[in-house]
Symmetry: C2
Subunit: 304 residues, 2 copies
């Protein structure tokens, strides 16, 4: 199966602890790396996880709080020191370019590559990226400032050719692409060989949803229905539900409730408040609602 794996580089919240880095993740889709948020230390963690800078071309920023974007300054500067030439695309809420571009410009008088900002409106779900194998859409969230999650959806792949049957019917090579895409084969004698005798279906396309930071927001359920993996922030435990509400964050059991309602396959929780030295309380509260929950952790790699 083609690679579709998530690397957690940081899963703490705004206050630093000795246990966590601020938020940063990297999604590896067929060796293209997509970074999601970029907290302080992202470039250090990126190096530690042995990912390749040259494979990183797009960064998605959920919102303009420091613990989700301060790492960009070091990362952009490092890529410049390394002599990168490929464009780097940063997708972010409106306002990012105005505040980052002058700062980056000051610290990188000469750039070896271009940084392109693509700003989105956080109020409406929209597809903001597409390539041959993937689309990325925003998931509007509710936080203390404009904020979006992201839905990474694989496209339906082509069917797999069954080599023996293709040989048996002596299908010419130039027909194979059409057949992969669902066409039947007609022999020179006029015999119609139905597609399902020549192919097996591609694996169902996979989906990853990233939702952080946000108030518990049942409105997202429709958009993340059935995803293979949901990362949802779970900043607080039940005992701090009032605090979660005040600060526009979610509790672990609320995150699990969303996972349940959306019928996702697996839930990963993170963005832990510094107050929990032992995060097992968060895990337990989530698993009581949605058993297939795991705690995020630095250097965790999840196959989707």
């Amino acid at each position: 199966m083609e690679k579709f794996e998530l690397h957690i580089l940081g899963c703490g919240s705004a206050l630093p602890t000795t246990r966590h880095y601020p938020t940063c993740q990297v999604l590896n889709v067929r060796e293209k790396l997509f970074m999601i948020d970029c907290g302080e230390g992202a470039q250090l963690q990126f190096r530690k996880s042995r990912l390749k800078f040259s494979r990183l071309n797009r960064i998605f920023i959920s919102h303009l709080h420091g613990d989700h974007c301060f790492g960009l300054l070091g990362l952009v500067s490092t890529l410049n020191l390394l002599g990168r030439t490929a464009e780097l695309h940063i997708h972010a809420p409106q306002g990012m370019e105005d505040i980052f571009a002058p700062f980056l410009g000051f610290f990188n008088k000469q750039m070896s590559y271009r940084v392109l900002f693509h700003e989105f409106d956080t109020r409406e779900a929209a597809q903001i990226y597409e390539d041959r194998s993937l689309t990325v859409s925003t998931i509007p969230l509710r936080h203390r400032m404009p904020c979006c999650g992201f839905l990474f959806a694989e496209k339906q792949g082509a069917n797999h050719i069954v080599r023996e049957m293709v040989d048996f019917y002596q299908v010419p090579v130039y027909e194979l692409n059409r057949i992969k895409n669902g066409a039947d084969y007609v022999t020179p004698e006029g015999l119609v060989v139905p597609n399902d005798r020549l192919t097996t279906p591609a694996a169902p396309p996979r989906k990853y949803a990233y939702c952080s930071d946000t108030l518990c927001l049942p409105g997202i359920v429709e958009q993340i229905k059935g995803v293979d993996l949901l990362f949802h922030e779970a900043t607080f435990a039940d005992s701090d539900e009032a605090r979660a509400c005040e600060t526009f964050h979610t509790t672990a059991s609320q995150a699990a409730g969303i996972a349940c309602d959306a019928g996702v396959k697996r839930l990963l929780i993170g963005h832990f408040s510094a107050r929990y030295e032992d995060e097992s309380v968060l895990l337990q509260e989530a698993q009581a609602v949605f058993p297939d929950t795991a705690l995020a952790g630095e250097m965790l790699c999840v196959q989707i």
Copy 2:
């Protein structure tokens, strides 16, 4: 002896490695913490080293390269989240406030405390800070942009009272401060008791010099003569001396030569280029010139 100790929080150079953080140090002088440079991840390392944010009031920035100051953004924001009220003083080369203040303002709409920038001219040595026990002076360096090192010099402390002699001569309490500061004591009978019978001298004042980043610059020798500890950048090995020169950095053996000429007590080298997986080559080259050399390392704490 009063505390005068150096904590290394990061001693790498600009490119991140899995071994080092970018430059950051904290000097603890009698429980006042002075931060020297503030590379990305400084606040994380600060936490790890169990230093107290509340004791940190002054930060000295050598120059405006990202690996020496990007950590300020997260640190300033965290102190705000923690509800700090004490002023934070940042001493830095000219231009720092213009570039940092708007960025910090965007990410901290409401500040619980004031950040005050004190800019200095990097071209001339000058005393930029003084309190009861310490002065800090700039050491002009030569780098690709305006840059200064810093000399932290304890003031001569008061003499120590010899309790037995003071009791013997029945010196009144109100005379003690004058005696600590060197005065003789005259008894009611007119007998002059010389100060050196009543006191022992204070420990000699200690000095720490921080020199990074710079071309090897013999001109600094006069200013750092005899310091107890010299931190000097040693980005490169002898084999990369040409590269050191091109990039306005110093080799390990050049740093040791400066230590030798200045007659310092101990040398600590750091700001290692990412190219040296094994830094023992740098240590050996320095020790061949100046034996009392040590390698900096994250979480190293040196008593001065």
